[in-house]
């Protein structure tokens, strides 16, 4: 009964996953560490770049979600809550293209700002095709999921806890900071781990928005290595590096949830 589903996932995910490790040590058919040497030489900046973008995006997403959901939980605002669900259903590729059109040097945002005089027509700033464009896109898309998860966690907090704080004189901000956040912290950690891994692994967005010049995000590097240089070895070495980061995050998450006494 379970066989066909398991078979597909094992064949088309687990086997290739494991062969990444195998292939990363092969070069011209020989066992070699050359691929990893190449990764170190050519791509170490990209690794830092990828981690940096992911951390910045995660920080923004969690920070905004923590505050916004606090207001949604305590004060309530149905239209804002609905609006935040929209990006959930917009595919990453569409986000990529939309941001291109919006944030490009000659994009709609700049031309709108030019009408108001904020932007200089002869030298418009280029937000798309830089790390800022990628961060904006990742934040825009992931904020929807973050709001959903954080609001769910906040709603699980007993209203009496908030009323007791209000009774003592706590403002909305203090209620978020002193009560909602500490009590929902475990859920926020789960959400963060999940989103961070997905940001590390983002492909379509940096492909469309990242721009032609290095540095690139890791997945784009893998793609270019395979597509333009047919270098399966180094591409897989990069892949293995990305798996290690994902496992690191998962390990951190597991440690956080098991350290607490049940």
């Amino acid at each position: 009964m379970a066989a066909p589903s398991l078979a597909i996932v094992v064949w088309l995910f687990f086997v290739p996953f494991l062969s990444s490790a195998h292939l990363s040590f092969l070069r011209d058919g020989q066992w070699s560490l050359q691929n990893y040497a190449l990764v170190w030489r050519l791509y170490k900046i990209d690794v830092v770049y990828t981690l940096g973008i992911s951390l910045v995006s995660l920080g923004l997403v969690i920070g905004i979600a923590a505050l916004v959901c606090g207001y949604l939980r305590i004060v309530g605002h149905r239209s804002v809550e609905f609006l935040f669900k929209v990006p959930l259903f917009v595919p990453f590729v569409v986000v990529g293209h939309g941001m291109r059109v919006l944030l490009a040097p000659r994009g709609t945002l700049n031309s709108a700002l030019a009408q108001v005089g904020v932007v200089d027509l002869s030298d418009p700033p280029s937000i798309a095709f830089t790390w800022i464009g990628i961060v904006i896109s990742l934040v825009w898309k992931n904020l929807a999921l973050a709001v959903l998860l954080v609001l769910g966690a906040y709603r699980a907090v007993d209203e009496a806890f908030l009323e007791a704080a209000r009774n003592m004189g706590a403002s909305t901000f203090r209620q978020i900071r002193d009560i909602l956040l500490p009590i929902s912290a475990p859920s926020l950690v789960v959400a963060s781990a999940f989103m961070f891994t997905s940001m590390l692994a983002s492909f379509s967005v940096p492909l469309m928005i990242g721009g032609g010049e290095p540095p690139h995000m890791l997945m784009v590097d893998v793609y270019y290595r395979i597509n333009y240089q047919d270098d399966l070895g180094t591409a897989n070495a990069l892949g293995v590096v990305s798996y290690l980061f994902a496992m690191g995050v998962a390990g951190y998450y597991l440690r956080t949830i098991t350290v607490r006494p049940p």
Binding site: M1, A2, P4, S5, I8, V9, V10, L12, V15, P16, F17, S19, S20, L23, H77, S79, V80, L83, F84, V86, P87, F89, V90, P91, V93, V94, V95, G96, H97, G98, R100, V101, L102, R106, G107, T108, N110, S111, A112, L121, W140, L148, L149, G152, V190, F194, T197, A201, F203, S204, L207, M208, L218, V222, N236, G239, V240, S242, Y243, A246
Partner: protein, 257 residues
Amino acid sequence: MAGTVLVAFVICAPLSSLVIWSFARRWSWPHPFPQELGLFYWRKVLEGDLLRALQSGFLIAVVVTAATLVLTVPLAYLLARYPVPFKAAILLVFLLPHAFPQLPVFVNATTLLYRVNLAASFSGVVLIHMVGALVYAVWTMTAVFRSIPESLEEAAWNLGASRLKTFVTVALPLATPGLVASTLLVFLYSLDEFTGTLLVGSPFVLTLPVYMYRTSVGYELQVASIAALILMLPGLVLLVVLERYLKSEYLSMFGRL
């Protein structure tokens, strides 16, 4: 009030740009609005490759959804109700495709598919879509079946109904809202899938996301915007429909064994 406007602006800005571009016949910098609006590109596009990509993507999504549900529903029921051996391991297997970066894995998967002559084929793309779709479906449907009180099925057994009959007449109907949610989620996932399709489908099998990507980086902005809008439609329909069905308990099941 100001907050709502700000949020609305931030959410809608990239999307509205797409709308404007799709109706632009001629638009050059630095005008804030197109100089010429029209349905020109809509007509042009619907006669050409876009239609092919749309049809092919839609068909793939239908096949993926059907196959996934057929394979997943019985499995999910078993996992929810019975002490399956290695249950934890099985559920973990169905979690990992979303825990690790897909691209490098799919690069190698493409090679595997190539060896059995399935690369650049319809079936190959269907299979690569199912890898991710099965994950969503197994977790959602397991949560759905778990949420049906066992006592309802026990009452049927007590009265003499066989397990199969109980499953069909009691469990399945009660699981309908979750089933609907799963179907829509999987369908949308397949329709929007990009990475796997780009690697496995090229160059013969085209879906709308890949078509949209190509036209976007090729600076055919009107065409790409139209493709993007069409791609967004099923998502927005799902948003409105799921406002009724999307219970956060389904999402919260992700990652909890």
